[in-house]
């Protein structure tokens, strides 16, 4: 029938046109994936927008600022570092889609700092990162499972694991808050459950336990958390969740005139972000938190001072806080990793470099690094800190007492480790 053919003809034409547009957007291939004579391409997926983004969305730009600084000073063996950021809105299947883009379309050399426990678990499996041999450096998550070399042969952590963090908090509770009623609010996925498991193993008994579903945090739901905590009479409350959940928890508690001793897990404890989300300074005053780095306001620390200078010059308009500090530190570690991989880096070479030399890298955090042929573990410890009336973070007890431990059943010990000095001007020269 004439009409049908006409219709089919139109469809064929339109389909070919649309398919053509798809092909037209394909990019040219590189000689060695992600590395050319002038450039090394790296990729990161993180929440730039969405419910979980406050605070974390600064990490990518901070990394970029540091890379630009290094590029202006000769790059890595003459190659400029390009960081491609992809927004995954903290949603696992978006992470998968974006990582596919990074690997198949942008053809990056390696992933750096992918953020989120559920996100990375999904991505690693779905995209087949291990099978493709793609290095994932310095994951922005502390899920203990990622430390396993067997399951994650090409991934490397940087943050102490949540199990380590929970054990250190548990020790702190025993030493400083014995006998009080304990409460906990945690994110009900692998991130929070990781911590809960370690608390249980350490023998911490919580009188009130509140689990929240990731994404459901809001003033309304925080109301229900606070009712439970107050009803249970919790005097010390541990919080193991993201910053955008800390905020309503603290704000609602203040409005309800419920004021326990807060112990905020490191993931959701940045004072600047919390204040931007509406938490009054008065509420933060006295909150305790495990910290791995010096305070971002501590200009007497050589790393902080250098990073602040870089931030002012290359990341103008962004206030220097925990996340910027973390981002720049990841940048510093990445450059050391790339240098250690040699003048002609390959993916395999980068992975061995991390395994063999990674533990000696310079980092702003106080605890030792645990990279080896058998472990992906990054930093291994925290010190306890307290927030003061101006929103700054000071070490608990006046000076930094560093605790280190492992993710298993090893003890929590006080450590005397001295971190390596920062390379001159923050520019690594290792090989």
């Amino acid at each position: 029938m004439i009409r049908k053919t006409r219709g089919k003809g139109t469809w064929l034409a339109a389909t070919v046109l649309a398919a053509g547009s798809l092909f037209a957007t394909a990019l040219p291939a590189h000689a060695e994936t992600g590395v050319s004579s002038s450039e090394i391409k790296l990729g990161i997926t993180l929440p730039l927008t969405g419910a979980a983004s406050p605070g974390y969305n600064k990490i990518g730009n901070a990394m970029n600022a540091y890379f630009k600084y290094v590029n202006d000073n000769g790059g890595v063996y003459g190659r400029k570092i390009t960081l491609i950021q992809k927004n995954d809105e903290y949603s696992p299947q978006l992470s998968i889609a974006k990582t596919n883009e990074l690997i198949l379309k942008d053809k990056v050399f390696a992933l750096v700092g992918p953020l989120g426990t559920a996100n990375y678990t999904a991505t690693h499996k779905s995209v087949g990162l291990a099978k493709r041999g793609i290095p994932s450096l310095f994951l922005n998550t502390g899920f203990s499972g990622f430390a396993s070399k067997k399951s994650y042969p090409s991934s490397f952590m940087i943050l102490p694991s949540y199990a380590m963090e929970a054990k250190i908090i548990a020790q702190f509770l025993k030493e400083n808050h014995a006998g009080k009623k304990l409460g906990i609010v945690y994110q009900n996925d692998e991130f929070g459950i990781d911590g809960m498991g370690a608390f249980k193993a350490a023998g911490t008994k919580f009188d009130v336990t509140v689990a929240y579903t990731s994404g459901s945090q809001s003033a309304a739901t925080a109301q229900t958390w606070v009712s439970q905590l107050a009803a249970g009479g919790a005097q010390v409350v541990v919080f193991f969740g993201v910053t955008s959940a800390t905020a309503p928890l603290l704000a609602v508690s203040a409005a309800a005139k419920y004021a326990p001793q807060w112990i905020l897990g490191s993931v959701g404890a940045d004072p600047l972000t919390l204040r931007a989300l509406g938490v009054p300074l008065a509420v933060l005053n006295g909150a305790q938190t495990p910290a791995g780095n010096p305070s971002p306001n501590d200009t007497s620390d050589e790393y902080v001072k250098q990073f602040q200078e870089i931030n002012t010059k290359y990341n103008t308009g962004t206030a220097f806080d925990d996340y910027v500090l973390q981002g720049m530190n990841i940048g510093l570690m990445t450059v050391q990793g790339l240098r250690a991989a040699g003048a002609n880096p390959t993916r395999k070479g980068l992975i061995s470099a991390m395994e063999n030399k990674g533990s000696t890298f310079a980092s702003v955090a106080y605890s030792p690094l645990g990279y080896s042929k058998t472990s992906n573990v990054g930093h291994t410890g925290y010190y306890m800190a307290v927030m003061d009336a101006s929103g700054d973070r000071k070490p608990f007890g006046g000076k930094v007492t560093l605790y280190t431990t492992d993710s298993g059943s090893g003890p929590v010990v006080v450590s005397t480790f001295k971190r390596p000095a920062m390379p001159a001007k923050g520019l690594p020269s290792n090989s």
Partner: protein
């Protein structure tokens, strides 16, 4: 008992914001027979404008006034420039059923993208016009705050104003006539097209208020009003899209119902609870609770 009272009060407060949104949707539906999904976008844009004014002048009420004005202008603009073009072109064939829905959805996406491009996706907050600390009765502090009370009072006032406009003024009479029987209204000399635009403007203004009120206790982002749209729509459907009183009732029922689910069962079932409430109502009365028999169908 205490908890039930608290739940009821909070439900009333949330429900009254939904009432504004559902009112706006019903207003537009009755005058144009279109469900305006872009209402959330209009409200969002109005709220951003209100936010700018409020954060610069530190006066919430000034921001609110600006949001209302912006909403009204936007509503009128959407009707005048967008809807008329739409109806001129797209009213036949199998897509007639779905075209207006898609068009307003497209408009929602468009407004959202523009807002995102101008303001970015960062969460913004508006300082609330009243304290969010709960009232203290005796020893207990209940989760019901002066802000909640303010919201209920504001919505109530707006409802009264709208009722007066619709029942007592000539404008209101024209609006009702144009919506109910447009041809007859035209014969009686009412300029239905212009009246319809005014209806859209009122709806837009009301949406602006809803956006400002809901944002005063939450964050503002290009996606923050989506929930308001969904619940406003459900509330309007529960009330039966034909009646403004019904939409308010539906919203209050929904608000209270959802808060009961939130407080007594758990946060994860809030949305499905909304669905259940809706289905239950529609099974019994397919045209909404205020429908008079099967008088009007889409």
């Amino acid at each position: 008992m205490q908890k039930l009272l608290e739940t009821f009060l909070i439900g009333l407060s949330t429900g009254s914001i939904y009432a504004l949104m559902s009112l706006a949707l019903v207003l537009v539906w009755r005058s144009t027979r279109v469900v305006n999904f872009a209402q959330a976008g209009q409200a969002m844009l109005s709220t951003y404008i209100g936010f700018e004014i409020a954060s610069r002048t530190e006066i919430f009420w000034l921001g609110l006034a600006c949001a209302i004005a912006a909403g009204a202008l936007l509503g009128a603009g959407v009707d005048y420039f967008f809807m008329r073009v739409l109806f001129k072109h797209a009213v036949s064939g199998p897509a007639a059923v779905v075209a207006p829905v898609i068009a307003t959805l497209g408009l929602l996406g468009l407004i959202r993208s523009i807002v995102g491009l101008i303001w970015g996706g960062e969460f913004k907050s508006i300082k609330a016009p009243a304290s969010t600390d709960g009232f203290t009765i005796g020893e207990r502090t209940i989760p019901f705050s002066p802000l909640n009370l303010l919201i209920i009072v504001t919505v109530f006032l707006i409802l009264i104003i709208l009722a007066v406009i619709f029942q007592r003024t000539n404008l209101g009479l024209s609006l009702r006539a144009s919506a109910y029987a447009p041809e007859i209204a035209q014969l009686a000399g009412i300029r239905t097209a212009r009246t319809r635009t005014i209806g859209w403007a009122i709806a837009g203004g009301v949406g602006g208020v809803a956006g400002m009120l809901v944002t005063s206790s939450n964050f503002l982002s290009p996606y923050s009003l989506d929930l308001l749209l969904v619940f406003g729509f459900i509330a309007a459907v529960i009330g039966g899209l034909e009646s403004m009183v019904g939409s308010v009732l539906g919203a209050l029922i929904l608000g209270i119902g959802l808060t009961i689910i939130l407080n007594y069962i758990g946060t994860s079932l809030v949305f499905i609870g909304g669905f259940v409430v809706l289905i239950v109502v529609l099974l019994v009365k397919p045209d909404g609770i205020m429908a008079r028999g099967r008088a009007r169908r889409a």
